[in-house]
């Protein structure tokens, strides 16, 4: 609220005079190799994933380094122990933990370098179900929001993440394809059709909500994401899969501080960035730094589909004439793709009408041809 206002104040000024430019101070990165732990213990029947990575340098574009060869064990105050096994690089998974809501749990992590980390005791929470997901439109685009309602004895702190899936359609549904090795244009096989594709994305911002200031445990119209106008995502059909988690107050504070440190900067009145730790610590090396907060809650999820027939997605897709003798020049490498055939009055192929790749083949727009199972 207040932050938003300052951002607007900044905007007022910035439109006039202020300016923001990319800046890389070429910093040394002493904070490399810290253990990063992210995950939610799912007490129910769904699977639990804990991701272990290492922090990396400010320079270059390295990928987060996955922590392999760790052992991850969930220990209950009832004496139970359940291991999580690495299913892909850095992801440690258990099919079903079946945790009790009356017990507390700890996560013990032993890494390959011999260090042992232990979380604080975590109490599993039940997450209220998602009431509804809505869409609001204005001149600048469309925003998805969530409504939720919990009971008084459920946590008042919420976190969300989501997956987005959207269908894209090529501008032209071409039945032709250029076969490079034979230098000829032929009909597409059914498996070669590239009109309909799907694209995926996941949330990359921390979405938090709290109903602590309200008289009821209610989340009202919490904005999840805003799609700017003319965006591809709403051109055909869009699906949002939202997951809701209950948080303890401490976990909420952790996420909020992370959000402040990494997302909310750049205003005139920035919060002072500060150190972030979480609920895990190294028990056999005081100097080993670990960052992360392991939560435990059931997950409520909801998927919605959105089709907006009046949504405008502009594409510039002209048809060019490609004479038969120059198909090699145009079609090799897929710069242009044939869409229609032009015939001579005698009925032989005279020329092709072709359009740039992204207008014809949806994979050229980084689309995925496989139809999702929920579509």
């Amino acid at each position: 609220m207040i932050k938003k206002l300052f951002f607007a104040a900044l905007l007022v000024v910035s439109t006039l005079v202020a300016c923001k430019e990319k800046f890389d101070p070429q910093l040394p990165s002493p904070g490399v190799g810290y253990l990063i732990v992210e995950g939610n213990l799912n007490p129910g029947n769904d699977s639990t994933v804990i991701r272990l990575t290492r922090s990396y340098s400010m320079q270059g574009r390295p990928l987060p380094l996955a922590e392999m060869n760790a052992t991850v064990i969930v220990e209950g105050t009832d004496g139970s122990t359940q291991p999580l096994l690495m299913t892909s690089a850095g992801f440690y998974t258990a099919r079903r933990l079946n945790l009790s809501f009356t017990q507390q749990y700890k996560v013990r992590i032993k890494t390959g370098d011999g260090k042992e980390y232990l979380s604080q005791l975590i109490t599993p929470l039940t997450t209220p179900s998602i009431d509804s997901i809505g869409l609001k439109r204005n001149e600048s685009g469309a925003s998805f929001y969530v409504n939720s309602k919990g009971t008084e004895n459920q946590s008042k702190y919420y976190r969300w993440d989501y997956d987005e899936t959207w269908e894209i359609n090529s501008y032209y549904n071409s039945l032709l394809i250029y076969q490079e090795n034979a230098n000829l244009v032929r009909d597409r096989l059914p498996a070669e059709m590239e009109f309909q594709c799907w694209k995926y994305d996941t949330s990359s911002t921390i979405l938090l909500g709290a109903s602590t200031a309200l008289s009821a445990n209610v989340i009202n119209e919490k904005t999840l994401l805003t799609i700017p106008k003319l965006d591809e995502r709403l051109a055909v059909r869009h699906s949002l899969m939202l997951r809701q988690y209950s948080l303890s107050k401490d976990a909420y504070n952790f996420y909020e501080l992370m959000k402040k440190n990494t997302e909310s900067l750049g205003t005139l009145f920035d919060p002072q960035p500060s150190e972030l730790r979480g609920n895990i610590s190294c028990i056999n090396d005081n100097n080993a730094i670990v960052i992360g907060y392991i939560t435990a809650s059931t997950v409520s999820s909801k998927r919605i589909f959105t089709t907006l027939p009046d949504w405008i997605y502009p594409q510039i897709c002209e048809l060019d004439t490609v004479p038969l003798d120059s198909i090699q020049d145009f079609f090799v490498g897929g710069g242009m793709i044939p869409v229609l055939t032009g015939y001579t009055p005698r009925g032989t192929v005279d020329y092709y009408l072709a359009s740039p790749g992204p207008c014809v083949e949806c994979t050229r727009r980084r689309g995925n041809l496989a139809r999702p199972n929920f579509w």
């Binding site: 609220m1 207040i2 938003k4 206002l5 607007a8 104040a9 900044l10 007022v12 000024v13 439109t15 006039l16 005079v17 202020a18 300016c19 923001k20 430019e21 990319k22 800046f23 101070p25 910093l27 040394p28 990165s29 002493p30 904070g31 810290y34 990063i36 290492r54 922090s55 990396y56 340098s57 400010m58 574009r61 987060p64 001149e139 993440d161 949330s203 990359s204 911002t205 200031a213 309200l214 008289s215 009202n220 996420y255 501080l257 992370m258 440190n261 990494t262 997302e263 900067l265 750049g266 005139l268 009145f269 920035d270 919060p271 002072q272 960035p273 500060s274 150190e275 730790r277 960052i291």
Partner: protein
């Protein structure tokens, strides 16, 4: 010149009484002369009146003069003509003769009852009071010198006499402050904000000079017989007259014991090129050595390593909690009504207390007591209007000023989605001064400022300062003066958001305080003088109320309990000058602060970190209960030794206590920061400072140089746990980390106050280092090691200069360089919640790039005809002339899954401005 009211009585008293008797007042003159020598004027008058003028042209003042008379009596005209010169005159009406003389006054007749009336010869002299002293006797004139005589010859044989009086503007009657009265280069004093001065010296004959900013230097001979009063009317410097050397505070920097003080009058502030051409008092303050800001958009300033909340900003005695408009872009003081600004950063007089770092005293002018005048101005951001004048001539005057903005045009430049946003601010001033009699004065001052900003009709944000004060000044005896001040200060802000049915809220914060102060100054003699007094301040603070914004909102009202406290203080200062070269100012202030009920107070296990687990009890105190009392002595000591009239050395020690704290965990102070009173869990902040300085004036006091060093410690400064929520926090003490600080530095300044080129260059080296002393080790910032504060900028060079090309054209330049402020840079990246993110560790271990800016402005005045109906002027200029993209901050954000670094400049372009001002 001498007081116009007195002059007829003194210079030509005899003649006036004669004139009245003989009904000769009918000799009137209507004329207008521009820049004529006096001789020429006299000849013109001779023609007009038919009187014969006797004078020695060789002895006349050779300067040119402009004046206008509209059906005015001859003696009035002559009075005007001879003002401030060594000449006097006598009119012989029956014989139609005028005698202009220098040393001896021709007496054309014997006055009626001259001796019988005794001292009170000045019949009709409004400034004379009933005491049997001789006032302002201008008995004779030596060549080129005025001559004053103070006291009666019969002084009872006392060797030392006390002279008191008021320095006033001869045209408007407004008291002139900070005017130096220098007697024989040995006895000096400076007039205070009411124009009053007092000086004690052995009886005898001395040369006297009166100098000050914007006035004509006055030199005279003075004969001191005994204690007495000497009111001096000075003439404003009128540029078309003869070349006048105006010297500001010529030797006061050498002479006074105070160090680390700076005074800027509004004229020099107006010369500094300002952002959008809006004369800005706080920005002017930041050009002084030892004063810094975190950045261009931050409210407030930092003095000698103090945080922004450690400055006491007094505006006509009232405390201003938010001195800025529009998110810190402009200061909230209207330059049209402000007289001067005084900053105490070293030795803070014992009279002031309650803040650690500095006292900024902003004083408004008193209204013109003689005529209705005013001014108006139009700039890019604000329009200003100011009117002043007498309510009851010579007794009561008023001054009123107002500013308003039309900053909404700025919003018009925003993207369409912000078109419904609105921004506005205004401020209003009213000052009334009333002279009850010669020893009693009353002053009223009122101030209102208001800011409002709304974002797309959704979130609105507003804040308001409201202050008023009433002051009664009384001269109890000729050596003892007192003032009684009472007032009320109010600051509040409110944010509200109404769009979301369920979450609509309104959040408000408020400080109210009532105060009374009783101050006395007692001037015993040249060796001893005393300041003493008491003050009482009642705080009432509403730390936050969160309420539903409209019907249907589910927001639960959350009100943090009101805090109240009483701060009483008594002070005593002894200024002792055993010899004219050596003086000591020893001040002691004792402040006693009580946190009052009603209030629920949490108590924690002693010696343990304060948190939910160590909470031992919660006590509910009844209204008026003294819950916790803090107090202690504060020492204000300074000393000065003058090696010679142009070189002195000073040293001082200061200690301070502060009972109210601003809660802020943003790097720059934001206008929604709230305040907190000291309570059983939040200790008062304490500070000590030692400083030494060397002062040298060059070129007959026209160039002042100084170097000052200071070392300072700050105790129980407040910092906060990472991610602490400060607003609506019912137990803020659990989120507070106490911090110790130290600051040290050197300040060099060269200031030229006289001539075509004026200005100052200052260099500051300063450091401020904080150290976290949280009991709970995990919360210690940088593991308890020292780290630089956000406003630690070691090097700072500022050049502020103005060059007067001629009387109508002036050029001003301001340039400033400083080290970039400290910043916390990330030390690595990690991947979390779907995005690469940055990792922070130690606070403030890097710096943003250095800052350099140059501003230029040209001031063009209309012509200077004194009697013109209106005077206008234009100011055009450029802020950030080089268009340098000075960084305000450097930050890293996670965007679409990856981390990007940005450099943000608030004013990254050349900002041209134009301003039009009119005076009437």
């Amino acid at each position: 010149m001498l007081n116009k009211k007195i002059l007829p009585a003194l210079g030509s008293l005899l003649i006036i009484s004669q004139a009245a008797n003989t009904q000769e007042k009918g000799v009137t003159i209507t004329a207008k002369y521009d820049s004529l020598p006096r001789k020429e004027l006299l000849l013109q008058l001779e023609k007009k009146t038919g009187f014969f003028f006797y004078f020695d042209s060789g002895r006349l003042d050779t300067s040119k003069i402009s004046f206008q008379a509209n059906d005015e009596a001859l003696e009035i005209v002559l009075n005007k003509l001879m003002d401030g010169t060594a000449s006097t005159f006598a009119i012989d009406y029956p014989n139609k003769k005028v005698y202009i003389t220098q040393q001896i006054k021709i007496q054309t007749t014997l006055p009626r009852g001259f001796y019988a009336d005794g001292d009170n010869i000045a019949a009709g002299n409004t400034t004379a009071d009933s005491s049997k002293m001789l006032y302002n006797h201008r008995v004779s004139k030596t060549e080129q010198k005025l001559r004053f005589e103070v006291g009666s010859g019969n002084n009872g044989g006392k060797p030392v006499a006390l002279i008191q009086g008021i320095i006033r503007n001869g045209r408007t009657g407004e008291p002139m402050s900070n005017v130096s009265i220098l007697i024989d280069n040995r006895y000096s004093t400076t007039s205070n904000q009411y124009g009053e001065y007092s000086v004690s010296l052995p009886t005898g004959d001395y040369p006297l000079s009166v100098v000050g900013i914007g006035i004509r230097e006055l030199t005279a001979e003075i004969t001191v017989h005994s204690d007495g009063k000497l009111n001096i009317d000075v003439q404003q410097q009128v540029p078309t007259l003869r070349e006048v050397i105006v010297s500001a505070r010529k030797t006061s920097n050498i002479r006074s014991t105070s160090m680390g003080t700076a005074k800027l009058d509004i004229t020099s502030i107006k010369r500094i090129p300002a952002l959008f051409g809006e004369t800005d008092i706080l920005r002017a303050i930041t050009t002084l050595p030892g004063v810094k800001t975190v950045g261009e958009a931050s409210t407030g300033f930092n003095v000698r390593g103090g945080s922004t909340d450690q400055n006491l900003i007094l505006y006509n005695e009232g405390t201003i909690y938010n001195p800025s408009h529009f998110f810190g872009m402009f200061s909230a003081f209207n330059p049209e009504v402000v007289k001067d600004v005084e900053l105490f950063k070293g030795t803070i007089p014992a009279k002031y207390g309650g803040r650690l770092a500095s006292v900024l005293n902003v004083n408004n002018r008193e209204g013109n007591k003689k005529n209705i005048t005013g001014s108006a101005g139009i700039g890019a951001i604000t329009s200003r209007l100011q009117v002043e004048g007498p309510l009851d001539k010579n007794k009561t005057s008023f001054i009123a000023g107002g500013r308003t903005t039309y900053a909404n045009w700025l919003i018009g430049l925003l993207p369409a989605e912000y078109e419904k946003s609105r921004a506005s601010f205004y401020d209003i001033n009213l000052g009334i001064s009333h002279r009850i009699d010669s020893s009693n004065n009353l002053y009223f001052s009122g101030y209102l400022s208001n800011d409002k900003f709304s974002l797309n009709n959704d979130t609105t944000y507003k804040y308001t300062n409201r202050n008023f004060s009433l002051k009664w000044k009384r001269t109890l005896t000729k050596r003892l003066q007192g003032e009684l001040i009472a007032g009320y200060d109010h600051y509040e802000f409110e944010t509200a958001s109404l769009n979301n049915e369920t979450n609509a809220y309104s959040l408000a914060f408020r400080i109210r305080q009532m105060f009374t102060k009783l101050n006395f100054t007692y001037f015993k003699n040249a060796q001893h003088s005393f300041d003493f007094g008491i003050s009482s301040l009642l705080y009432k603070l509403d730390p936050g109320s969160y309420t539903p914004g409209k019907a249907g909102s589910l927001v639960v009202t959350d009100i943090v309990q009101t805090e109240q406290a009483l701060e009483n203080a008594a002070y005593f200062t002894h200024i002792y000058s055993p010899t004219p070269d050596l003086s000591f100012s020893t001040g002691l202030r004792y402040s006693l602060y009580s946190f009052l009920g009603p209030k629920q107070v949490n108590y924690y296990a002693p010696g343990e970190p304060k948190n939910e687990n160590t909470l031992t009890s919660t006590v509910d105190y009844k209204s008026g209960k003294f819950i916790k009392t803090y107090g202690g002595p504060e020492i204000r000591f300074s000393t000065r030794y003058a090696f010679n009239p142009t070189l002195s050395v000073k040293a001082g020690f200061n200690s301070q206590r502060q009972y109210i704290h601003m809660l802020s965990n943003t790097t720059a102070i934001s206008p929604t920061d709230i305040w907190k009173l000291s309570d059983p869990n939040v200790k008062p902040q304490r500070g000590e400072q030692v400083s030494v300085g060397l002062y040298k004036n060059l070129k007959s006091n026209t160039i002042e140089t100084s170097v000052e060093f200071y070392y300072k410690r700050i105790h129980d400064y407040l910092d906060y746990k990472p991610g602490a929520k400060l607003v609506l926090n019912h137990s803020i003490e659990t989120d507070v980390i106490s911090t110790e600080g130290k600051a040290y530095g050197a300040e060099l300044m060269i200031r030229k106050t006289v001539g075509k080129l004026t200005g100052w260059i200052s260099y500051t080296y300063s450091r401020v280092l904080l150290r976290s002393t949280a009991q709970d080790q995990q919360w210690q910032i940088n593991n308890g090691r020292e780290y630089p504060a956000n406003y630690d900028k070691p090097h700072d060079v500022t050049l502020t200069s103005s060059f007067r090309i001629n009387h109508r054209l002036g050029l001003s330049m301001n340039s400033t360089y400083s080290t970039g402020r400290p910043i916390t840079y990330p030390i690595g990246r990690f991947y979390y919640a779907g995005s690469a993110r940055v990792l922070y560790s130690d606070r403030n271990q890097h710096r943003i790039p250095d800052y350099f800016r140059m501003d230029l402005s040209v001031n063009i005045e209309g012509n200077h005809k004194v009697k013109k109906l209106t005077h206008n002027s234009w100011t055009v200029g450029c802020y950030n002339l080089l268009g340098r993209k000075n960084p305000y901050s450097v930050y890293f954000v996670s965007e679409d899954g990856s981390v990007n670094g940005y450099k943000l400049s608030v004013f990254g372009n050349i900002i041209p401005f134009i301003n039009y001002n009119i005076r009437f």
